[in-house]
Symmetry: C2
Subunit: 191 residues, 2 copies
């Protein structure tokens, strides 16, 4: 259950609350880890029960809205984290990429659908790239490991976008070659 260690790691920098942890992981760790909010709250609960973190502060929100519950890492938590960090035995990786899984099977589908999905994927990845590009200068100041990881994440996404655009071109060509007279714009005279 590595998500616990991700939380312990983040709490090395500063105390945080659940929603913030989720945001951080979603923004900066998305190429290596994904989480749901429910899981964060469950993990925080069990980490607190194990004494690895403590509720250090509660920041009241303006009105009756839920307060921010700040958690800190304990000494025991730091020890546990160190142990995890040192004992890496080539744990198994998990990848679930619904887009690429469909992609390899698109020979059994329609090219128009493939093109649509590729274009959607391009848009989504451009957004993600922009988020990361924006955060890069800050990450560059956070030591070699964070800096290098950010560099890899960005490079990887740019390569993926290049690849997606290549695929897009190929699909556009094959579609127009297959039916050169059928153009989507109705510029010609009717019948």
């Amino acid at each position: 259950m590595s998500i616990k260690y991700a939380i312990l790691g983040l709490l090395h920098y500063r105390e945080m609350y659940g929603y913030q942890i989720k945001d951080h992981i979603a923004k900066y760790f998305s190429t290596m880890w994904t989480v749901s909010l429910a899981q964060i709250y469950a993990s925080l609960k069990s980490l607190a029960e194990e004494g690895l973190i403590v509720l250090s502060d509660v920041v009241a929100s303006p009105a009756g809205a839920p307060s921010k519950k700040l958690y800190s890492i304990t000494y025991k938590g730091r020890q546990e984290f160190q142990h995890w960090l040192k004992n890496y035995d080539g744990d198994n990786m998990t990848h679930r990429d619904p887009f690429m899984l469909r992609f390899v099977f698109f020979g059994f589908g329609e090219e128009e659908d493939a093109l649509g999905f590729v274009e959607k994927e391009i848009r989504r990845n451009e957004k993600q790239r922009d988020v990361r590009l924006e955060a890069l200068p800050r990450r560059k100041t956070q030591g070699m490991y964070v800096s290098k990881a950010a560099e890899l994440g960005l490079k990887r996404r740019e390569m993926y976008l290049d690849w997606l655009n290549e695929v897009r071109e190929i699909l556009i060509n094959t579609i127009s070659e297959r039916s050169p007279s059928v153009k989507k714009d109705n510029s010609g005279p009717a019948d």
Copy 2:
């Protein structure tokens, strides 16, 4: 539960048995999907119960060893697969990369440990790259989608290896600069 669709997809090519499906996914789909054998057998069972696949043949093994149970996709299975293929709404991706998760936190650990893990990661990825490199010519003949996906998988891994080697160099330098006199080889005179 996309693993079911991965199986239905593979069965479009030919009938297969469980172990073979697992091997195929592990070898060629590892960048987009990972599975355990138990899950494959469970999925085959439920796919058969739903009538999406059928047990088409049982190939007896030499002695009393378990026979190979070959499954085929049914018409209903093909329909279900087509529906899945067409209805992609940007499903959420899942990445769990225990190596990179540790990596971003290695500022809280020892450089020697980091170097050891990086080198282990290099070795593992070189093996994977070789498997894929070997399979590439065959994949190139299997249509644009499979070919392009294989290309991406290989490119990505090569980029990752380049990155790992860069990190390795950095770590070797920082370690030797930090303690220039402490060399691991005992070439100098004792005391």
